[in-house]
Chain length 168, copies 2
C-alpha cells in the first residue's frame, strides 16, 4: 500500500461548493434588522432534513482534538440529510470530504481547514469524515436530522493510506 499526504487548504465557499455550504460572514451580504442594532447574514446553509418525515435537530458536539497529520480511515454519508457544524470556540477544525465519482475513494478525498469562524453544512449524501477538532477539546453547534430511519453509511478508505496535514 502506498502512503499519500494531502495538505488541507483554506476553506472557501467556492472550493467547498461541490460538498455543501460554508457558513461565514466574510464577504457575504447582510441587512440591518432590529432597528439597526444587528446585521443579518441570512440563509447561509441549505438545511435538507425533511426526507422521510425527518425533523431538524439542534445539538452540541464536544470533540476531542486529533493530531496532524491525520490518518483518514473511513468516511460517512447521510442519505436522508444535510449536516451542519459551527465551531463555538473560534477554533480551527479539519474538514475532510470526498468527491463523487468512480474508482477508489482514496483518490477523491479533499481536505479543508476552517478558520474557526466558519462552519460547514455537508450536502445530503456527501462523503465526509466525522468531526475533527484540533488543538483542544472543542464544541460545535450541529443542525442535522431527527428520525428513526437509518441515515448513516460508512466506507473504509483502503488501497492507499491517506494522511491529511495542515496547510503548507
Amino acid at each position: 500500500m502506498t502512503d499519500r499526504i494531502l495538505r488541507a487548504t483554506e476553506l472557501t465557499a467556492a472550493g467547498f461548493e461541490p460538498f455543501g455550504d460554508v457558513i461565514e460572514t466574510e464577504g457575504r451580504q447582510w441587512r440591518w434588522i432590529n432597528q439597526a442594532t444587528a446585521q443579518r447574514y441570512d440563509d447561509l446553509a441549505r438545511v435538507d432534513v425533511s426526507q422521510a418525515h425527518g425533523r431538524p435537530l439542534i445539538s452540541i458536539f464536544r470533540a476531542s482534538p486529533q493530531k496532524l497529520p491525520f490518518h483518514v480511515r473511513s468516511l460517512e454519508r447521510h442519505p436522508l440529510s444535510s449536516q451542519c457544524f459551527y465551531p463555538l470556540d473560534g477554533r480551527s477544525f479539519l474538514v475532510i470530504v470526498a468527491e463523487d465519482g468512480q474508482g477508489p475513494i482514496a483518490g477523491r478525498i479533499r481536505a479543508f481547514l476552517s478558520s474557526g469562524h466558519q462552519g460547514v453544512n455537508y450536502r445530503r449524501n456527501t462523503w465526509h469524515h466525522s468531526l475533527i477538532a484540533l488543538g483542544q477539546i472543542s464544541n460545535f453547534l450541529v443542525v442535522d436530522r431527527g428520525g428513526t430511519e437509518e441515515n448513516c453509511e460508512e466506507l473504509s478508505v483502503d488501497g492507499e493510506v491517506v494522511w491529511v496535514a495542515g496547510p503548507q
Copy 2:
C-alpha cells in the same frame, strides 16, 4: 407613568421553560459518538418552523452591544415559528420575554442573562425582545424560519417604563 426596574436572573432550563429551550451542555445527558472522539448532547431545542410550508434557515446575526439598564420599548413574536440564538463569542447576552396572560404586558416581562455558553430557542408565539448583545459586538448563530408569509407581530410596552438591569 411609573418606572420599574427588573433584575435579570440566571438563565436556567427550569426558569425558561414557559418560554422555550435553553441550549446548553451543563447538566445534560450525552452519548459517545464517532468512535468515542466526541460527546453528543442531542436534540437540545424544539425547532418548530414547518407551519405554512416554512423551512429552517441558518443565519448569523452580528449585534451591537446595548447598555444596562436596558429600556424595554417593545416586544415581538413569531406566530409561525420558533427562533433559536446561540452566542458564537462565549459572551453573555440578555434574554427578555413576556409571560402569556391578561393585563398590560409590562407586568409580565421576565429577564434572564445567558452565561455566554447558553443559547435560547423561543417557542412559537412567545413574546420576546429582539437580540440584546452586551459588552461588545457579538455574533450569534440563528435558526429560524424561511418563507414568504408575515411572521412577526410587534407590541409596544406602555403604561410603565420597564428597565432591565443585570443580576444583583
